[in-house]
């Protein structure tokens, strides 16, 4: 009972403090290009240690996301309005639009770009903290989505720092984005990658 009153008070105070979803959206949508590196940890329930992979990413507001996996294996991905593509020896290959997968990727982009209106449709959003350090919790609304995720936690400051996906099955994935910078424009190679 005490906890609920505490949370209630906290939420009220958050509203009063006025760092709200709109501001977060605006803040995340500001930079047009973000470069950075990432560490991905896949925690599988049955494995003692997580599957860790590393790489770099480029998030461009008008184009989408390049996700370049470097270790332990090399694989490039691109998420854009057209869908998700994987690079092989012949260049970018658009993956078949498997309905549920495509939807998940739309979510992923929405998260990174702070498109809260897109997220609010499917999730209940709870925002805590302030502009320099905030935490956004996404709880699925629909029955179907609840069967897949229990929760998604996103933390960050000026930019998104970690995304944690907690699956209903007990597995989870943590994406940590480090050294993100909004200073560099798209390189020619990157522009080329988005253009194809």
């Amino acid at each position: 009972m005490k906890l609920i009153t505490f949370l209630g008070a906290l939420l009220l105070s958050l509203q009063a403090q006025a760092f709200d979803l709109q501001q977060l959206s605006d803040q995340l949508a500001k930079p047009s290009v973000i470069h950075g590196s990432f560490t991905q940890e896949k925690h599988l329930r049955a494995l003692p240690q997580p599957l860790v992979s590393k790489g770099t990413f480029v998030l461009a507001k008008d184009h989408g996301l390049l996700w370049l996996l470097k270790t332990p294996l090399q694989q490039d991905y691109r998420i854009s309005a057209q869908g998700i593509a994987r690079r092989d020896a012949n260049g970018w290959q658009l993956l078949p639009n498997k309905s549920a997968g495509a939807e998940q990727n739309r979510l992923f982009l929405a998260v990174l770009q702070g498109d809260s209106s897109g997220l609010q449709r499917d999730f209940e959003l709870q925002l805590q903290g302030e502009a320099t350090q905030w935490k956004l919790t996404l709880i699925p609304r629909s029955l179907l989505l609840k069967q897949v995720f229990t929760r998604i936690n996103i933390e960050g400051g000026a930019l998104v720092q970690t995304i944690e996906l907690l699956e209903t099955q007990g597995d989870s994935t943590v994406l940590r984005m480090q050294d993100s910078t909004a200073d560099q424009p798209l390189s020619d190679a990157e522009q080329h990658d988005f253009a194809q």
Partner: protein, 776 residues
Amino acid sequence: MRSNTILPSERQLPRLFLILLVAVLALAGWQWRHGAPLSANLMELVPGSTPNALEQQAEQRMQEPLNREMLVLVGHTDRQQAVAVARQLGERWQASSLFEKVQWNLQADLPALREQLLRGRLAMLSAKDRAQLIEHPDAFIQQRVQALFDPFTGFSLVPSQEDWLGLTGRIQNSQPQRGAVQLDIGSGALIADADGKSWVLLRARTTGNAFDMHLPLRVADLLQASRAEADAQGAQLLAASGLLYAANGQQQATREITWVGGGATVGILLLLLLAFRRWRVLLAFVPVLVGMLFGAVACVALFGHMHVMTLVLGSSLIGVAVDYPLHYLSKSWSLQPWRSWPALRLTLPGLSLSLATSCIGYLALAWTPFPALTQIAVFSAAGLVGAYLSAVCLLPALLNGVELRPAHWPLRIAERLWQLRAALLKRVPSAVLLALVLLFCAGGLWQLNTKNDIRQWIGAPPQLLQEAQAVARITGFQPTSQFFLVRAPDQPQLLERLDTLGQRLDQLVNTGKLQGYLALNQLVSRPAEQQQVRDALNRLPQHWQPLLDLGVPASALQAEIAQLQALPTEDIDAALAGPLAEPWRTLWLGPVDGGVAAMVSLQGLNNPALLHAQAADLPGVQLVDRLGDLNRVFAATQISAAELKLLSCGLIVLLLIMPFGVGGALRIVALPLLAALCSLASLGWLGQPLTLFSLFGLLLVTAISVDYAILMREQIGGAAVSLLGTLLAALTTWLSFGLLAVSSTPAVSNFGLSVSLGLAFSFMLAPWAGQQKHAL
């Protein structure tokens, strides 16, 4: 005078007829005890050439969704609005009690899906994945490692620790794409994006089928109301269903029966009143009513029910049935004072001949392979007998004591026409006229082209067709009416045959000639193939080092292999049990005549001719192409119809030799034939195609117009009076058949047009029937 009194036999006739009438009425009452024995099933009208029960069963299975399901797309520029409107619509329709099931969102039963995927890991693996596992196990393991790191593979239904080898994920990903519709994971709705709008798919399954007499209309009404509601919310509805065609067909039939029947009735009654100027002459309509009653009773007695199309075409019988009383009523212009019984006595031979020739003409239709025409033939022939009997037995008694003093103007018109003809003949001899007519015929026939298509039976408004096309385009669901029927002695051989057929169909898909297909071998593989997977899995431990490197415990992998080895071999029945099998379920026909059978359904076909080649040399594989078969039957029937026409003419000649002699009989039959030829030529000049139905129309008109030639040849009461009688008969017949020409069903309107033309020419040519030297 003896001829003006009533014979004793004539006193008995009305009584006997009334007894018959009461009996028929009682029979009709019994037939209608459960409501109207009417049917609107279009497929009952076309030739049932299906030779075996299995094919028929398969066909019914394929048609069932068309006749019971409705696909609706709810479109809105805003995705959320579209979902909201679809939800509202779905709830309203579900509450309407018209539908067994209304589905606008996917309530996936994930535990059941998981269970099926795990159980089907050997049997449901696609051919491509199976080949990789057997031939390139290293690559298979490598792909699995990649997938474990891939953040974008989408969620897999089965957690990794239950399926380290990733077989369920592969099965999930190899499921055939179902059109352009995608799952909106938030709402569970199925959505397609097109034309700047989001379209939510809603499927509704009705409680009855399209051939129920009331359901389609209620569904169409509900749709219309929903459309208005959606409009108010800025949303657009697109619907496609066989039910809508049925509803439209029924509304159209009702409208046309009203127009044709009503129009003919009003026209004929007016004509009777204007010509004979006695209220009681309206009793001449009694034979029409009796005819309708006899026709309906005979039809239901023979076929169990009556089709609405029979009613539409049958309503034209009104004009033919009224000819019998007209035969003796029109004698009032020459026979004064006119008395009913003597007038009848005078015209009875002609009446009887007319009944015989008309019946021959109608019954010739019954020998065509079209159930529709058989029904119409039976309806009409029974109707004519009824009309004849009432005209001969009952009507004279009803008109007893009536003295007809007909108006003079019709006779003056007939006299004027006769004079015109005489004047024309004075300048241009008959032989020259004949040559001109033949020239006209040759020119017209030169331009005549034929057209036969089952679609002529359906007068679907363009809006329905456009909507159905839009639904097909947006969803990507383009079911074709053709399908393959595959038979084999047992399940493994059936799957093998499906594999062979599938390889050929894949080629068509790859070259863009076919959009896709659905076959059971996509769902479950042969027992031998399942065994191959088991063997390959046994060899896998030599290749799975990369998985061990990730930290996957060797014991877990060992346990999984042991579990996979223990999975029982799945057969078709087992594979069809789970939720993933839903699209395939209708394809399985199960054990039949000592073997098993299944269907292969097709999507988005461009060229049906290609399909025949696919099945040609495959044992047990048969293409079922009902539409194509029907169109071929149409073309073949056209020839047999022409033969029937000649045969019926031959019969009529034989019948007429007795009263008119060989020369007279030939002449009487030649005139309707010439009239038919002129009508054909006119179709050519008018740019109208010759269809099977126009040919049937001409077949009929030959029989009817023999009557006119007989009337003119007998010339009872003088040439002008006979011409007037012919004119009246032709006018009443035309009033009912001609109105068919306005029908929006191409088949019916074609029929009406050719009969109208035939009647006009028959009337014009009838005076050349010559004059019979009467012995009396």
